[in-house]
Amino acid sequence: MAGNVWVVAEHWKGTISEATYELLALGRNLADSLGVRLEAVLLGHGVRGLAASLGTADAVLYVDHPVLADATGQQASRALAALASARVPATILVPTTNVSWDLLGLLPGRLGVPFVNFCRDVEAIDGALQVSSLLYGGKMAVTVAAGPGPVVLAVLPGTRSPEAGRSAAVPAVEEVSVDLADDSGVRLLEYQEPEAGDVDITQQDVLVAVGRGIGNEANLEVAEDLAAALGGAVCGSRPVIDQGWLPLVRQVGKSGVTVKPRLYVAAGISGAPEHVEGMKDSEVIIAVNTDAGAPIFSVAHYGIVDDATDVLEALAEAVRKRKG
C-alpha cells in the first residue's frame, strides 16, 4: 500500500461536520500505521477557510469549483474520482452521513475501486487494511481484508471521538484544479427547515423513544404518559415517522437528530446503526424489546426482553408511585 490515506472533509452550510473530525482521528491512526501521509480532501466553492481546522491531516487537497457549491454527490464524486485517479490514495474514508451519502454511493463506480460499507473500525495490519463492518441492521459483524490498491470506506459515526481529530495545527493547503462541467442534471433549489414542533428533542433531559415494536399508533399514548411522568418528551425511530405516527422533528438517527439526554428509553427499537448513531451518547439508556438478540442491547445500559408497551405502562405507574 504505497498511497496516502484520504479523508473527505465533509462540510455543510459553512461548517466542517463532526464526522470529519472522527475520520481524521481514524485516518491519522491508519496513516501512521501504514507509514504514509494523511490528506484531507476539501471539495467546494469559496470554502478554503474551512481547511484551517483540519490540522490533524498532513495536508489539505482543496478543489474549488462553482458546481461543487451545493454538495451534490454527482459533482463531488466526479471531482474526487478525478483527483483519486491522478493521486492513487491507499484508501478514501467517507462518513455515512446524509450529506456524503450520494458521494460514497457514486464514487466506487466512477473510480472503479472496491468499496466497504458500514465500517465501524479499520486497522492497518502488515501494510494491509482490516475492516470491521456491521451488516443486516447490525445483526452481524463482518471482517473484510481490503487492498492492495485503493479502496473507498464508508465509515459509521462513532469510530473515534471528534476531539481526537481536532488539532490546533494549521495544515498546508494544496489547491488542485479539476475540470468539471455544469451538466450534472441535479440542481439545489432550497433547504427547508422542518416545521417547528413545540418540542425540541435535542434539549430534553429525558426522552422516551418508540420504534416499530410499539405496535400501533394508539400505544404512543403510553409513551407520552411515561414521558410526562418523567418530565421528558417522546421521540421515535424511522419506522414510526414513516408511518406518520410522529412528525419528522421527533426522529432520532441518520435523517433525524442526534440527542444526548440524561435518560433515553428505547421502546420497541431494534437498534440498527442508523438509529444508534443518533442516541448512543445518552447518559443512561434503557432498552425494551421482545427480541433478545436486538442490537440495541449492545448500546443500552439496562435491557428488558418484554413487550415495550407493557413495560412503559408499568414503568409510568412505578415512577408515579415513587414520586408520590
Binding site: G215, N216, E217, A218, Q243, D306, D307, E313
Partner: protein
Amino acid sequence: MATATVLETPDLTLDGLLATPEGRPLLSCIQCGTCAGTCPYGDVMRYTPRRLIGMLREGFIEEAIASDDLLTCVTCYDCWAKCPRGLHLTDVLLPLVKEQVLLRLPQVPAELQSALSNTMRYGNPMGESPRKRAAWVDGAGVPVPILRDLGRPVDVLWIVECYSAYYPRGQDNARATARVLAALGVDFAILGTEEKCAGECARLVGEKGLFDTLREQNMATFGKYEFASLLTSDPHAFDAFAYVYPSLGLDRPVDHTTPFLAARLDALRPRLTRELGYRVTYHDSCVLGRHNHMHDEPRRILEALPGVSLVEMTHNRDNTICCGGGGGGMWLDTHYKAKGHPRLSDRRVEEAAATGADVLAVSCPYEVPRFEDSLKVLGYDDRMVVRDVMELVAEALDD
C-alpha cells in the same frame, strides 16, 4: 334460534351470493332492523346488515363498499343470533361485503395491514418467526409432543393458534391446557413450527385470499398426518375448521378445549382439589358462546372447581357483549380511536366489575389482553384479574 352451519359453497363471492344456498335466504329479509338494533356499534355504523341486504337486493351495494364503514364490524354474531330469519349475516354476508371494501380502500389502517401481511408471511399476525411457534412448550411442565417428531398417528391434533403460542399471557393458557390434557391422559400432539394461523379473523375482516391461502397450506399439512380429531384453544379457529374447512375436504370432528374438557369433567373431578376461593364471573365469547351456544360447558367446569362461586353479568349467554377483537377488531383499535368509537372491552369490563367478582373468566385468547387492558385503563386492575377457564382448571389441579 340461529344455529351455526357448515358452509357448502367453497368459493362464495358477493356478486354471486344471492344465487347460492347460503345467500338465497337474504331475499327473505323483512328489513326489521333487529340486526342494527343489536349491533354493539350500531349507533356508529352507517351500513348495517339491514341496509346492506336492501342495497344488495336492489343492486346498488357500491356505495357501501366504497366506504370504510364496515371496518367497524367486529363480527360478534349478535346480528346473526337475533335475526328472526336466521340469515347468514356474520358468517357469510359481512365477510363478503368486507372483502369488497378491502379491495377499494385507498389505505388499509397500518396495524391491520401489518397483521395481515405478517399472517401471510409468517403464519401469525405478530410477525414472529414461525420457528418460535413452539417455544412455549419449554415451560409447560408436561410433555407436549410435536406431531412430526412423534412419527405415529395421534388421537387429538391440538391446534394451539397464534395468540396462545406467541403472547406471554396466551402461553400461560397453552401451558395450563397442556397440563389439563396430560391430567386427562389425552393422546395429543401439536404441529409446533408447522402450525399456521387458521385465518378465520382474516376471513371475517374480508381477506378471503389470505384465508384461502392459509386453508390450502393447513389442509396440506393436515394431509401429512393421521389424527382422529382436531382440538383448538381458539374459538375462531374452531369456527374455521368446523364450518368453512369442510367444503375443502376436512372431515375430522372438531372441538374447542372448553367443551372438550366439559365432556370429560367427571374424569378430572377427583384431581381438582386445590381451593381457589374466587368469585368468578364468566364472559361468554361471541364465537364459542353466541355463535355456538356453548354457554353451559364453561359454567359446569367453573362450578366444579373448589372454592369458586359464579356470579353472572347483566349481559350473558347469547346477549354477551363483544370484547371488540373479532373480525379484525384486534388490529383496528387505532382506527376506532381515531373515529371516536368507544372501546367495547371497556363496556364489558364495567359490567364485570359491577358484579364484584375477583376473576373475569374467559375462553377466547383475544379476550385476555383486551380485558386486561380495559381493567388497567378503568382502574380496576387492583381488584379483578382475567383468567382463561383452562388457567383456572390448571390452578385447581393437584400436582
